[in-house]
């Protein structure tokens, strides 16, 4: 038992490093200690985001099928213009050294290439075409009343867990 505890303790800083280096998705760079209710603003932002997702039919299985059959420009337009606006925003933030509302410096992380981006990317692509959803739309689809998508979401959580379990054995 004591060896086990030591193992976890020794491993914790290491994996935290990995969260930030290999996997710098949606990481939280604020150094501030914030009370839980400060997260309400992210809930409000999520609501707006969910409405946009749903009204633009980005969460529709049909729109995803059209995208992968080159039958509609819609999804390419959405993703392309989102990237253009995101790129311009990040350029402006870096160029003018814009701070957060709390006056902190905004942090960016470079991502390191690993083979997971290829193998994992292809696997996610297969899943995207089958379910017609990436992780974000799964939540919105459930919201619109497609309750059975709860099963797909639980399955996606299970898929993430399986990855975590067998991570050491997979090529990276």
């Amino acid at each position: 038992m004591s060896t086990n505890t030591t193992f976890v303790e020794a491993k914790t800083p290491n994996t935290d490093f990995e969260v930030r280096s290999l996997d710098t998705m949606c990481v939280n760079d604020t150094k501030r200690q914030e009370p839980w209710y400060s997260n309400i603003k992210y809930l409000v932002l999520g609501v707006i985001f969910g409405i946009v997702f749903t009204k633009a039919e980005v969460i529709s299985w049909f729109r995803i099928q059209e995208m992968f059959r080159l039958q509609s420009f819609h999804m390419y337009g959405v993703i392309g213009s989102a990237i253009a606006v995101g790129m311009l925003s990040i350029f402006i933030i870096k160029r003018f050294n814009i701070k957060t509302i709390h006056g902190e410096k905004i942090e960016f992380h470079d991502k390191k290439f690993n083979k997971g981006q290829i193998y994992g990317g292809l696997i996610f692509g297969f899943g995207w075409a089958i379910t017609g959803a990436c992780p974000g739309p799964l939540f919105a689809q459930i919201g619109t009343g497609a309750t059975v998508i709860i099963v797909t979401l639980i399955s996606a959580i299970a898929g993430t867990w399986i990855y975590g379990k067998f991570r050491d054995k997979l090529p990276h």
């Binding site: 980005v58 059209e66 059959r69 297969f126 990436c134 309750t147 059975v148 993430t160």
Partner: protein, 189 residues
């Protein structure tokens, strides 16, 4: 046409895309958060089933904002369905409608085809593959790739990250292969 009727129509890409793109600076300026959604699945694992797996040993409470964000997306879907729902059936390309009718998909009332995604269908081979296996691929693949459409395609490419561009190309390649070469067999089960 009044405002409510006008806003209930499907929104065009040039309205939705820039709004989605603005999420990137909003999250950064609100609290130094990098846009990404698939990590929420990892946080659920870390919070509920860490099982001593090193990949899930981290301070997930620090990433709680991400859970609030995805719950918001769920609420956004509920609010849209309740107040902003477009009563018309979803318009799809004629070739797609033609192809799908061959698989018995004719109901266009939902954004998700109810002919495929429904509770009883879970117990059929087609439904099981589409909902359960499909979900596994999404969860496994996004984490293996280190992100999804939001984290890699939008946040990563916006920040000029080559690995994100590679990942996005692989998402698209996987989707093209599945939708055109494999999915027709699954749908005809």
């Amino acid at each position: 046409m009044n405002f409510i009727e006008w806003i209930k129509q499907p929104w065009p890409w040039y309205v939705a895309g820039p709004l989605i793109g603005l999420t990137v600076p909003t999250l950064l300026i609100m609290g130094n958060k990098s846009f990404g959604i698939s990590s929420s699945l990892r946080h659920v694992c870390a919070a509920c089933f860490p099982s001593k797996i090193p990949f899930f040993q981290y301070d997930w409470k620090k990433e709680l904002w991400n859970m609030f964000f995805v719950v918001g997306i769920l609420l956004g879907g509920i609010l849209t369905a309740a107040f902003l729902w477009n009563p018309e059936p979803i318009q799809v390309h004629a070739n797609l409608a033609n192809e799908l009718s061959g698989y018995g998909i004719t109901n266009y009332t939902g954004l998700v085809p109810v002919d495929v995604f429904n509770w009883p269908a879970l117990f059929t081979l087609r439904g099981f593959i589409m909902m359960v296996a499909g979900g596994l691929l999404v969860g496994f693949g996004t984490r293996y790739a280190g992100g999804c459409t939001s984290g890699h395609a939008i946040m990563g490419i916006s920040n000029l990250q080559m690995p994100s561009l590679i990942a996005t190309c692989c998402f698209m390649a996987g989707g093209f292969i599945m939708a055109n070469l494999v999915l027709p067999f699954i749908l005809s089960l």
